[in-house]
Structure formats: structure tokens, C-alpha cells
């Protein structure tokens, strides 16, 4: 379980996360939604220790992540804009990360086959298409079979087929009892994948709870409508 307590982050004058308290349940999939610049990515990066908060704490499995790094062993992360060392080949990249994580056993082979990037293995990262980079990112996130999976806009650069493949895979991981956290703009994706929903606007949590509840509360058929309604309320 991931517990966020009183988390606050400012970039200069801009408050990106304003005193956030959250609980992300274990073994479930949680979707984070919100307008652009609402603090979704910052929240994720804070969990990963990429961004250092001004106040507050994050507790993963009962332990604070402050000045710790070992907890990241439990996390697989697929960033929004995947940037990799341009001169490395895909194979080198995988091997390198394996070495850094000191991991012997991985399901790398299976994932490579699953996403169909066998033919890309000896290509340099810089020659890869955006979609293939995303696939590489997905493999990297999942190859160590971590308990927590964090996806930041995972399907943005994927073609429909790959997108479907990816979602299928996430389902499987969920079924396997992984804690999943994802952000996306595509509400149908959330509907498909998530049980829980977090709605962030300007660094504040507007809604946090089971997705179904929100839909019912807003008297809408679909999540998209419910969220849009909520945003309108916000604006008013």
C-alpha cells in the first residue's frame, strides 16, 4: 500500500502539489486523472524519488521513502516521454538495467516476444520509432516483475494494436495482484483498467475513491461524462 501524507511541492512560485493526502490500495489499479498541468506526473515522480517534496511524506509498505532508494526495487516505472541513452542498443539497455538492479531472473524474453520487438534488439535507441520506444519502456517497467507498476500516459505513442496488447497485459498484471498506478487522458482506458480513481486539479485532490461511485454520483453512464461534469463544477 502506498500512503501519501501532507505532500506539498512547489516549483518556484507555482504550487504543484498542495497538501495531498492519499491512499493507494494494494493489489488494485488506480487511475489518476486531471487537466494538463494538474500535478499528476509530479505526484508520480515524487513517489519515485525523482522529485523531492517540500513537505510531507510517502510511505510504501509501511516505510517512508525519505532518503531511501532500495524501495524502488519494488517499482516498475514507464515514463510519459521515454528518454533513453541514444547510443545504446535495446539489448544493451536491458542488460544494463539488469546489471544495475542486480537481477538474474527476469521475464524479459517473454515480454519482448509479447510486444514483438525481437527485431529491434540490436538497434540503437535513437533509431527507434516512438511506439517502439514506448514498448521498450513497457518491457523495462515489467521485466523485473515488481509489486508496484507505475505508468505515465502509457498508450500515448502506441498504435491501436499495441495499445490493446498493452492493456491486456496490464489486466494480467492486475489479476496477478500487482498494485497499478496509471495516468492517462483517455477515460475509456481508465474505465477499462482501473478500479479506483484519483482526480487532481491544480494540485488538489477533488475526488478519491472507487470509480463506480463517481459515475453513480454524477449520474452519468460513462466516466468521461462524469469527469467532464466534475471539471465544469470546478470551473464554476
Amino acid at each position: 500500500m502506498i500512503k501519501i501524507k501532507g505532500l506539498r511541492k512547489r516549483f518556484g512560485l507555482l504550487t504543484v502539489l498542495d497538501d495531498i493526502d492519499l491512499e493507494i490500495p494494494a493489489g488494485r489499479a488506480t487511475g489518476i486523472v486531471g487537466p494538463n498541468g494538474s500535478g499528476k506526473t509530479t505526484a508520480i515522480k515524487t513517489m519515485l524519488g525523482l522529485v523531492k517534496p517540500n513537505a510531507g511524506d510517502i510511505i510504501i509498505d509501511g516505510e517512508s521513502i525519505k532518503n531511501r532508494w532500495d524501495y524502488r526495487r519494488k517499482i516498475g516505472y514507464m515514463p510519459q516521454i521515454a528518454r533513453y541513452p541514444e547510443n545504446m542498443t535495446v539489448r544493451e539497455l536491458f542488460n544494463f538495467i539488469k546489471e544495475v538492479r542486480n537481477a538474474e531472473k527476469t521475464n524479459q524474453e517473454e515480454l519482448i516476444r509479447y510486444f514483438g520487438i525481437e527485431s529491434e534488439l540490436d538497434k540503437r535507441m535513437r533509431t527507434l520509432s516512438g511506439g517502439n520506444r514506448q514498448k521498450v519502456g513497457a518491457v523495462l517497467a515489467m521485466m523485473f516483475d515488481p509489486e508496484i507498476l507505475i505508468f505515465d500516459e502509457p498508450t500515448a505513442g502506441l498504435d491501436p494494436h499495441a495499445s490493446v496488447q498493452f492493456k491486456k497485459r496490464v489486466h494480467r498484471e492486475k489479476e496477478a495482484g500487482k498494485t497499478i498506478l496509471l495516468t492517462t487522458h483517455i477515460m475509456s482506458e481508465i474505465e477499462e483498467l482501473a478500479d479506483y480513481l484519483i482526480f487532481i486539479v491544480e494540485g488538489n485532490i477533488r475526488y478519491h475513491g472507487p470509480m463506480q461511485e463517481l459515475i453513480e454520483k454524477q449520474k452519468e453512464q460513462r466516466l468521461e461524462g462524469a469527469v467532464a461534469k466534475m471539471m465544469e463544477e470546478e470551473a464554476a
Partner: protein, 263 residues
């Protein structure tokens, strides 16, 4: 262990970029030419020292900053991995400073070896140049790193400061010293001058070279302050101490910045 695997990949990457090979080749060609046309005496060593004093600070500072910008992806990728930031920092720094130092050492050392300079000139001079070159590489790469981290989001600013910083330390600073000498030359300014020289790492290294190669000229100076300073262990220890401070402080500051940085 992890720092080592980072180093390994960094080096592979760096050598694939060929840039570093070019850098080493510059030294190789220059040292070769200096020795081939300047003879195997101390003159060649002195010319090599001059190039070293010019090139290492420039390349170290600019490439130190540039390298951080270039390896941003690499850094971000690794930050999400179970890895200490400290380890990552030293991996990154070592990944650049060590190949630069190696390129210098090989570039300069190979011609020295095949022309037999180890036999024909003083071993002490050669060691001095090699040690000083490596020290300067680490020092100025550290300074470049610091600038790169300080202006991580603004590359133009970072590189601009690196270039201006180099120009300041290599040329403008000495211009100010010269101006001070001519304005205040009638006062006893030797001690403040020495202090000023100690504040600039390029001057520090330059004076160390002078002590080895131009002691005849230095001893021709009429002031007792220089003679006492240069002639004593005190002078050498103060100079070495200052170099160490110049080496340590930027790296320490960089590491703190890196530790607190948001990516």
C-alpha cells in the same frame, strides 16, 4: 559495484561518441609534433604543459556541463531504478572525468614513451605534467558539472557560464593581476599577488609548471617574498592545499545539488 557498471556503460557510450577519441588524438598529435620538431628535451615538455594549461580547463568545464545535459536521459532512467543518488553522481562524474584523464594521459604519454622521453628528460618533470594534467581534468570537469547542475534547465546559460568562466580564469583574471601590478607596483604587493594566484586554479597549475621549468627565471626576480615562497616546502604545500580545495569544493557542491535536484 553499481557505480562500476554505470562507469562501464558510460565509457562505452563515450567512446562510441568518438568525441573522446578525438580529444585524445589532439594530445597525441600535438605531443608527437612537439617532440618530433622540438627535440626530446624539456622544451617539448614545456610546450605540452602549455597546451595542457590551455585545453584541459576549457574542455573540462564545457564538456563537464554539456555532458550532464547530454546524459539527462540516462540520468532520469537510472534515477527511477533502485540506486543511490550518490552512487549515480559518482558514476556519472567518473564516467566523464576518468575517460578525459585517460585520453590526456595516453595522448601525452604515448609519444613520450615512443620517443624515449623517460630516458632523455627528468622523470620528475614528466610525472609532474601527468599528475597535474589529471588533477586539472578532475578539477575542471567538477567545475563544469557544478555549472551544468546549477543551470540544469537552461543549457545556454550553463554553457555560457562555462565559457565565460574559462575566459575569466585563463585570461581576464591575469589581466586584472597585471593591472593591479602596474597600478600598485610601488607598494609591497607580492603577498597579495601570491594570494591572488592561489585563488585561480589555472594560475596555481601554471605556477607549479614554472617552479619545475622556469626556476632560473623565477630566481632572477629581486623580491625576497617570491624566492622564500617558491623555494620552500611552505609554498608547495600551500599550492597543493589550494588545488585540493579547488578540487573538492565544486564536487561537494555538485553532489549536494544533485542530491536535492528534481528531475
Amino acid at each position: 559495484m553499481k557505480a562500476l557498471s554505470i562507469l562501464k556503460y558510460q565509457w562505452k557510450d563515450l567512446f562510441r561518441g568518438k568525441w573522446i577519441i578525438g580529444y585524445g588524438l589532439i594530445y597525441l598529435l600535438m605531443a608527437d609534433a612537439m617532440i618530433r620538431f622540438g627535440g626530446t628535451g624539456s622544451k617539448a615538455l614545456l610546450s605540452i604543459a602549455n597546451i595542457m594549461l590551455l585545453l584541459i580547463p576549457l574542455v573540462g568545464m564545457i564538456y563537464g556541463a554539456l555532458y550532464l545535459y547530454q546524459s539527462r536521459e540516462f540520468t532520469e532512467l537510472l534515477l527511477a531504478q533502485p540506486l543511490d543518488r550518490k552512487t549515480l553522481f559518482w558514476g556519472l562524474f567518473g564516467g566523464l572525468a576518468a575517460p578525459l584523464a585517460l585520453a590526456f594521459t595516453l595522448g601525452v604519454g604515448l609519444p613520450m614513451t615512443y620517443f624515449g622521453l623517460f630516458v632523455s628528460t627528468s622523470i620528475r618533470s614528466i610525472i609532474l605534467i601527468l599528475v597535474l594534467g589529471n588533477l586539472l581534468t578532475v578539477l575542471f570537469t567538477g567545475l563544469g558539472f557544478w555549472l551544468g547542475l546549477r543551470f540544469f534547465e537552461d543549457r545556454i546559460k550553463g554553457l555560457g557560464f562555462a565559457l565565460v568562466g574559462w575566459l575569466f580564469l585563463a585570461v581576464i583574471y591575469d589581466g586584472l593581476v597585471l593591472l593591479a601590478i602596474f597600478l600598485l607596483g610601488d607598494y609591497p604587493i607580492e603577498e597579495p599577488m601570491l594570494a591572488m594566484a592561489m585563488l585561480n586554479p589555472i594560475d596555481l597549475a601554471r605556477i607549479t609548471v614554472l617552479l619545475e621549468f622556469d626556476i632560473q627565471a623565477l630566481m632572477g626576480y629581486t623580491g625576497a617574498v617570491f624566492n622564500r615562497f617558491f623555494g620552500s616546502m611552505m609554498g608547495i604545500s600551500v599550492a597543493a592545499g589550494c588545488l585540493m580545495i579547488w578540487l573538492g569544493v565544486p564536487l561537494w557542491r555538485s553532489m549536494r545539488l544533485f542530491n536535492k535536484k528534481d528531475f
